[in-house]
């Protein structure tokens, strides 16, 4: 955050008023942080931010029966609109400006060549139902993207349709259900998920009508005995799948993943991989090689497509040959016709589960993936994983004396994958909360790590491969400085953040009496 945040904005009175009174307009002192008036408060009825060509056809009467009111929306000149969003921009952290050591979300740099690609007029101005002859270039990109994801997973077929990771989970679970129903085993309705699974895993099961049971993890690893017990208890003939994240949410590659896969396959069930942590293993191991039958990718994590304040992402799913016929329609395919290579959409997949969203998928996001993978190449992708893992272990090593790490034991060969979990018990014992630590990081211009997940009172740190050593060191230094401050003056931590555009929010009040829209004026 820059110091300009605290300067007054001459075009925006802090106290909008409708009365023509003379008001005193004090220059805010340094440290004051004026809020940005809402776009509604800036409205001057009758203004427009942009014009349209004059109507060049006769008007046609609109029947009274269907005619509605003009919506009550703000009206501004274009400069006011531009200033509004400029000012809002200044009140946001972003990867472009801030370090985001955010476990499980892989906030890597978003290369601008990806944006250049996605903004090509020949790619964005295509109607989803245009004839395939007019969209050969795009279909080629989509087909190649599909192939890239197949190669990276080692699985034979990918569907690009799901709109995000959770949507990919949902689609994949539908695929598994469809397979079992088709093979006379509709009773397989139970999905086993690890007790440290992403919240989306059980929620996706619920949306598919599957029952979820949780298998324990011990020291971060799947408890094989508990898995055996669960399979026995629920009956192997009722188990549809195991959903597992590997490397897991404790930041560890599950060393017994092959045994897990064996138990799942012996039960006749499918092993589903939540691909949230693919960044740690790109080009090092293929999910198919450790027994994965079906998985999703999070392209906005692993493949550098921007998070955009929370989407759009995309969640391609990769499936083994047994499950592939059940993937969503349409599938993008490459054919040879009369000596020419032709790309097209194949709708003729009788076993398909159908569609899980409209049209083809998050095409603009997929174009960015293609660009990223093409830029990295196979050696680059492997270096991504190696550097991400190196950076995470480096940070863990620098911090472990002050921040306890339940799963990071390098002396026993237990290294972090691309992220690590710290439960800073001794610091918390001094009367500060995890929130205090997180909010203090904001004062250092660093986005706080993921909190309270996968275990209570933990921070989950994932630096990604794109950060410089200087940034990693600055983060470690900030964390150590915070530890020092806690030891020196724990009480002062409750004041954090002190240098953000707002101080700590009352989130409890927000939930108790929710206000989700501006009140109408007058």
């Amino acid at each position: 955050m820059t110091s300009s945040m605290s300067l007054p904005r001459l075009d925006e009175p802090m106290m909008p008023t409708t009365k023509p009174t003379v008001k005193t307009y004090a220059i805010p002192t340094r440290g004051d942080r004026p809020t940005v008036p809402s776009i509604f408060e800036k409205s001057q009825p009758g203004l427009r931010g942009v014009d349209l060509p004059a109507l060049d056809v006769p008007t046609h009467e609109i029947p009274e029966a269907i005619l509605g009111e003009t919506p009550d929306l703000p009206e501004l000149g274009q400069l006011q609109v531009a200033r509004h969003y400029s000012h809002l921009c200044e009140r946001n952290f972003s990867v472009d400006a801030n370090f985001y050591p955010l476990g499980s979300c892989t906030m890597k740099y978003n290369p601008r060549i990806n944006e250049f690609a996605a903004a090509q007029s020949g790619l964005i101005n295509l109607h989803p139902m245009q004839d395939e002859a007019d969209v050969q270039g795009l279909l080629q990109i989509l087909f190649e993207t599909r192939r890239f994801f197949e190669v990276i997973s080692g699985l034979p077929e990918v569907s690009l349709q799901p709109a995000a990771g959770a949507h990919g989970e949902f689609a994949a679970l539908k695929v598994i259900r469809a397979y079992f129903t088709d093979h006379g085993q509709p009773g397989r309705h139970i999905v086993i998920a690890t007790d440290n699974a992403h919240g989306t895993n059980p929620a996706s099961c619920m949306m598919c009508g599957a029952a979820v049971v949780k298998v324990k993890t011990a020291g971060g690893y799947t408890d094989l005995d508990d898995l055996r017990r669960l399979i026995d208890e629920h009956g192997s003939e009722n188990i549809a799948a195991l959903m597992i994240t590997n490397p897991n949410t404790a930041g560890l590659f599950d060393t017994c993943i092959s045994e897990v896969a064996q138990l799942v396959h012996d039960a006749g069930a499918m092993m589903y991989l939540d691909g949230a942590n693919m960044n740690a293993i790109l080009g090092k191991v293929r999910p198919a090689d450790f027994g994965t039958d079906i998985m999703h990718y999070n392209t906005h994590k692993t493949f550098s497509t921007p998070h955009g304040c929370g989407g759009p992402g995309s969640g391609p799913i990769a499936a083994c040959s047994k499950l592939a016929p059940y993937l969503p329609v349409p599938q993008v395919v490459k054919q040879e016709r009369d000596g020419h290579t032709v790309y097209s959409l194949d709708w003729d997949r009788p076993k398909s589960i159908g569609k899980v969203r409209s049209f083809f998928g998050q095409v603009g996001v997929l174009v960015r993936c293609w660009t990223y993978i093409a830029a990295c190449g196979p050696d680059g992708l492997r270096n991504v994983a190696e550097t991400a893992v190196l950076s995470a272990n480096y940070l863990a090593a620098r911090l472990r004396n002050e921040f306890e790490m339940p799963f990071f034991h390098p002396e026993d060969g237990h290294f972090a994958a691309h992220e690590f979990v710290t439960v800073p018990k001794s610091l918390l014992a001094r009367g500060v909360t995890l929130l205090d630590i997180a909010k203090r990081l904001i004062d250092y211009d660093i986005h706080p790590p993921t909190m309270h997940w996968p275990v209570h009172d933990c921070l989950m740190v994932e630096p990604t491969e794109t950060e410089s050593k200087e940034t990693l060191d600055r983060f470690a230094d900030a964390m150590l400085a915070i530890a020092e401050q806690i030891k020196r003056d724990a009480e002062s931590m409750a004041q954090a953040p002190e240098h953000a555009v707002v101080r700590r929010l009352d989130e409890v009040a927000a939930a108790r009496k929710p206000v989700l829209a501006y009140e109408r004026s007058g």
Binding site: H60, L76, G209, G283, N393, W453
Partner: protein, 453 residues
């Protein structure tokens, strides 16, 4: 280029701090037999300059709506997009920011989403809106899920005139649930939902009634009549599927009695881009607030009493509630919601109304000219339409489309297309007209039709 930025020397220093000799030592947890020894079978890395050339070449192989006058719709529409939107959504502060869980570091996005929620609530005439879902089709699915949990009933009535694309997604998503999907038939003559039939289908076990307007033929449905029937059964939820541009001109969902209003936000400043990313809009009456799917932004104050914003009612969401969450949605369409709010702010109420009026007048001009041609008629002449209409041609829609394409036009979507569930005969063409179409382009289309008629 893999965008890493560590020197060899720095890597050595980092390995020394960890206490290992090589990066490979960090990967020993992967069983040796599974570890890849060679490289993935992918094309070798390309430089940025090569990529710029390759992308331009591939993009250049497509012929899109920047070169052809687009009369195609069926759920995706070619609207004018103010330049300002691309600029501000390209700014790193929005483009590369994370989901605003850390409110103090995300006030910009949170305020913008709060304003988006307000705009969508007002546009639809509903009390509240969420901060986005994936697209129109998945928004319909989420609305049905909400109705199912809210009513604890199991029959889902969906109008046959709802976009086939949406019905297809709904059927897939409901298929393994203890839910009965019932189609509300359309009246063959009018192309509109048969309200009498709806009345006979509704019963005490009906969770919701889903009706889209404009419908798949562009016709304006009688939401008020349909939803009055829906409300005859206790608790049954009326779900309106709307077009946000039409909302600026026609009776809003809320005014017609909808409990939940969902729609595709693509017309609000989002490029066609072959189907996505788009934007799911979700609005509802306030009694449903704690059952809403997706993210909600609430207003609150900071420690100094300043107005500020945060994600709220997160106990509905998957990261807190797991299998008891209201939905599995996590990452949504943040940047697309930003596009939509910027679009609405730039055009303003008056501008949005004018876009809708121009769509209406231009579509009616074109429909009048086409139906004046011998052999051409509206497939459903009795109903009022907004900016899309079905025409029965004297030749096949495929021939019309091919002839138009030669003249630089995309004349429309054939109603017999399997993507539209074969909703019409081979000669039926669905034509959409936005404010972007000029009289000259429409007259060109009329010439094409006249020539082959």
């Amino acid at each position: 280029m893999d965008y890493t930025q560590l020197t060899d020397r720095q890597r050595e220093e980092m390995l020394a701090t960890i206490g290992v000799a090589s990066v490979d030592d960090l990967f020993t947890a992967i069983p040796e037999a599974q570890r890849l020894t060679g490289l993935l079978d992918l094309p070798k890395a390309r430089s940025e300059l090569e990529l710029q050339r390759d992308i331009a070449k591939l993009a250049g192989r497509n012929v899109g709506t920047d070169q052809l006058a687009c009369f195609m719709g069926a759920g995706a529409y070619d609207h004018f997009i103010p330049t300002l939107i691309d600029h501000f959504t390209s700014r790193g502060e929005f483009l590369t920011a994370y989901t605003p869980y850390q409110a103090e570091a995300s006030q910009g996005a949170l305020q913008a989403f709060f304003e988006f929620q307000t705009q969508i609530a007002r546009l639809t005439g509903m009390d509240i809106s969420n901060a986005s879902l994936y697209d129109g089709a998945t928004a319909v699915v989420e609305a049905i899920h909400l109705a199912l949990t809210h009513t604890r009933k199991r029959r889902v009535l969906v109008a046959e005139t709802l976009l086939p694309e949406y019905r297809r997604v709904v059927r897939t998503c409901l298929s393994d649930l203890p839910v009965e999907y019932v189609a509300i038939p359309a009246c063959a003559e009018t192309g509109m939902t048969d309200v009498e039939a709806l009345l006979s289908l509704i019963d005490d076990d009906t969770a919701c009634v889903v009706v889209g307007s404009p419908n798949m033929f562009g016709l304006i449905e009688d939401w008020s009549a349909c939803f009055a029937v829906a409300h005859e059964a206790a608790k049954t939820q009326a779900i309106a599927v709307f077009n946000p541009i039409a909302c600026a001109l026609l009776k809003a969902s809320g005014a017609c009695g909808a409990d939940i209003a969902v729609g595709e936000g693509q017309p609000l400043g989002i490029p066609l881009q072959f189907g996505g990313p788009y934007l799911g809009l979700f609005a509802a009456t306030k009694n449903l607030i704690r059952k809403m799917p997706g993210r909600l932004i609430g207003q609150t104050v900071d420690a100094d009493g300043r107005r500020s914003f945060c994600l709220t009612l997160q106990t509905r969401e998957q990261h807190i509630k797991g299998e008891r969450a209201t939905s599995n949605v996590c990452t949504n369409q943040g940047l697309m919601a930003l596009r939509a709010t910027m679009y609405m702010s730039t055009l303003g109420a008056g501008g949005l109304r004018e876009v809708a009026e121009q769509c209406y007048h231009k579509a009616h001009y074109l429909a009048e000219r086409i139906t004046a041609l011998p052999g051409y008629s509206l497939k459903y002449p009795a109903g009022a339409f907004f900016h899309e209409f079905a025409v029965t041609c004297p030749k096949s829609a495929a021939e019309v489309i091919a002839a138009g394409r030669v003249r630089g036009l995309l004349p429309g979507v054939p109603l017999c297309d399997p993507q539209l569930d074969g909703a019409g005969g081979p000669n039926d063409l669905l034509i959409a007209v936005t404010e972007k179409r000029t009289k000259a382009e429409m007259d060109d289309l009329v010439d094409v039709l006249a020539a082959i008629g």
